[in-house]
């Protein structure tokens, strides 16, 4: 069960890192759009963000490094939630999420998602990281894969809904 969640979250970070890497030329503009960092730090943040996400994805599945990966991921999610929350409070709903999935503006749903995933990661950071045995080990991969698919579907539907409102 815990392994399933770790694989699921690793998959989320892997997809997010891949998405940000594909959009790496747009990423500095997206980060600047949040208006949270001084302009001098934006290029460094844009370079570091996909690397940090990929690192979290790589660390999460293994017992020895799972805690560190979850802690790193929880920190990232806290930063995302802060960025989205502050900009929603500022009333700047038009800015791009830049989350790595389909293009969409920030929204309360994305804030809730970041908070939820961050809480899950924080719990995993302190949870028992030992690998299960037998069938539980074998089933963790398809379970995580199914969760990841549903996550991708929900992300696409969120983006669709945002597009419909904007149109």
């Amino acid at each position: 069960m815990l392994l399933t969640l770790r694989l699921f979250l690793a998959g989320i970070f892997a997809l997010a890192a891949w998405g940000k890497w594909r959009e790496r030329y747009a990423l500095p503009g997206v980060i600047a759009g949040y208006g949270m960092l001084p302009a001098a730090l934006v290029p460094a943040a844009a370079a570091a963000l996909p690397v940090a996400e990929a690192l979290s994805a790589l660390l999460l599945p293994w017992p020895a490094t799972s805690g560190a990966g979850a802690a790193l991921g929880a920190g990232l999610m806290a930063a995302f939630a802060l960025g989205i929350g502050i900009n929603l409070a500022r009333g700047r709903r038009g800015i791009s999420c830049g989350c790595g999935g389909p293009e969409m503006p920030i929204s309360p749903a994305l804030l809730a998602r970041a908070v939820g995933l961050g809480g899950l990661l924080a719990a995993l950071a302190v949870a028992d990281a030992a690998l299960p045995s037998g069938a539980a080990l074998a089933m963790a991969v398809p379970q995580a894969g199914a969760l990841l698919l549903l996550y991708a579907v929900s992300e696409q539907l969120l983006a669709n809904a945002a597009g419909r409102v904007a149109a």
Binding site: P142, Q143, A146, L150, V153, Q156, A159, G163
Partner: protein
């Protein structure tokens, strides 16, 4: 492998496949939404082109008041060609009336037909739009070469044809006003010039 194990394995395969299908469908919905564009009225390649002067005519409506067509006016004129024997015309009449009310400051609506006045009066009364003026003129339809009904022609303040087309829906009727705002002969021409943004 036990029967139960095989069944569980098969179910996982089914769940993953269904998940992939759901994702593909959701993405396709996103693509379709990105490609949805205002539906333009179908313009047929006959009669005076957009930008040309409308025929200059002065015609009485059913109540006897005179309407000048093609002459400089304070508002644009939307000519809506209809016939009592055309079912789509009937269903569009309330839409025309609501458009006339909503855009009253920039567009005056003039219904146009050809035939028996009493049949038109009955049609307008039945659809609750008896307040809209209607001119009966075979010449107007002929000079504008109205190919099919319901057809709408937007004549601008200077007496030139601003937009025209076969209209079957509210969107198509409104597209004539949109086409005029966008300074393009038809919405189709505008869309052909700017292809919709590629979807994710």
């Amino acid at each position: 492998m036990s029967a139960l194990g095989a069944s569980v394995a098969l179910l996982w395969v089914a769940v993953i496949v269904l998940g992939v299908i759901c994702l593909a469908l959701a993405r396709q919905i996103g693509v379709l939404q990105a490609r949805l564009a205002p539906a333009g009225a179908l313009a047929l390649e006959s009669g005076p082109r957009v930008g040309e002067a409308a025929p200059l005519l002065s015609l009485p409506d059913l109540s006897g008041a005179m309407h000048a067509i093609g002459a400089p006016a304070a508002r644009d004129t939307l000519l809506f060609f209809l016939s009592p024997s055309c079912p789509v015309c009937k269903s569009l009449l309330p839409v025309v009336a609501s458009l006339a009310a909503a855009e009253a400051d920039r567009v005056g609506v003039l219904l146009a037909g050809d035939g028996v006045a009493e049949a038109y009066r009955a049609l307008l009364r039945a659809r609750g739009v008896a307040h809209l003026p209607l001119v009966l003129s075979e010449e107007l339809g002929r000079r504008l070469r109205i190919p099919r009904l319901p057809y709408a022609v937007l004549v601008d303040r200077a007496g030139r044809i601003a937009a025209q087309g076969l209209v079957n829906t509210r969107e198509q009727l409104e597209s004539l006003l949109t086409a005029q705002e966008m300074q393009t002969p038809t919405v189709q021409a505008y869309l052909a010039r700017t292809p919709p943004a590629a979807a994710a």
